[in-house]
């Protein structure tokens, strides 16, 4: 499978994303923010970092980069898009995902391992995650607090679009397990069509035992599995 990993000025988790995808045996290429076309890709990763220095608001400027037109088109055609951390912020600013990410409630930058509870197994981002298994993934953010108005939260719940919640090691989404104040402990969500997802934690930094957890692989493997199933279905 071919992945495109976007690069904006001051993205800094692009290399980790490329590395993780290649580690899992698949192709990944960088796509600079000024490019007008993604090329022939099966999935797009919008990586973490501090694009444009987080000026104005995180992701506010990156969302207007030329490449984002191609990403919107790709998503409109059903292509898979995963936004990680700053990538999630970019997708939210672009309106490809609802809500917004604001400053952590304790005003501190959190760089630590957390646990995620997977709430919806029927998406290309979660289908390979064993039911009930809390994922241990690192976060590294100062503006990861998910906010959306009550109407949007109700829509997300009704549509089963909250993909991941912060939880403790036992899988309980408690307030103590919430590192940033996100409403409903929301760590990641998807769009209505279930082909665009965003999460604040970094699965690309949980793919090797050396980094303390390989649970992040399950998210990438879900995407790969979804793409491979689609290919088989199309060939049939």
């Amino acid at each position: 499978m071919n992945f495109a990993v976007l690069q904006f000025p001051a993205s800094n988790c692009d290399q980790d994303a490329i590395h993780a995808i290649r580690l899992l045996g698949h192709s990944a290429r960088y796509v600079w923010h000024k490019e007008n076309s993604l090329g022939a890709v099966d999935a797009v990763v919008v990586p973490g970092g501090f694009s444009y220095g987080d000026y104005l608001r995180c992701g506010a400027i990156a969302r207007f980069s030329p490449v984002m037109q191609a990403v919107q088109q790709f998503a409109a055609n059903g292509g898979l898009v995963l936004g990680i951390c700053n990538g999630f912020q970019v997708l939210a600013e672009a309106g490809m995902l609802p809500g917004a990410l604001v400053r952590n409630r304790d005003l501190q930058f959190h760089c630590e391992h957390i646990h995620l509870k997977t709430l919806a197994a029927d998406t290309p981002f979660t289908n390979w995650i064993p039911a009930g298994k809390p994922l241990r993934i690192p976060i590294a953010h100062g503006e990861g607090c998910y906010f959306a108005d009550d109407e949007t939260l109700a829509l997300l719940k009704a549509g089963n679009r909250i993909l991941w919640q912060y939880c403790n090691a036992n899988g309980e989404p408690t307030d103590a397990a919430n590192p940033n104040g996100s409403l409903l402990n929301i760590a990641g969500i998807c769009n209505e069509r279930r082909n665009v997802a965003g999460l604040m934690p970094h699965p690309e930094r949980a793919c090797e035992p050396l980094l303390g957890s390989i649970d992040g692989r399950l998210i990438f493997e879900s995407i790969i599995h979804a793409l491979e199933s689609k290919t088989v279905a199309e060939a049939a």
Binding site: L56, R57, A60, F64, A92, E93, P98, G99, A100, V102, R103, N104, R105, D106, L107, C145, F147, A148, D149, G181
Partner: protein, 79 residues
Amino acid sequence: MKAKIIVTPKKAVLDPQGKTVQKALEHMGYSGITAVHVGKYLEIELDGGDKETARRQLNEAAHKFLSNPVIEDFKLEIE
């Protein structure tokens, strides 16, 4: 021509910065403060032209880009 835009967090959004500033003011001895909200101020300088056109354009820019309507409100003044 100069445009002044004030961007403030919506009431429903958690504003820990505002709360922290409020607590600090109280610790410094200022009393009677019931709330503090921290926002953003932008000054945009424009070359001549029609004020109404400028207002319309900046209103659109403020809505689309300079503020995030999900979490912020804005006030636009042109002088």
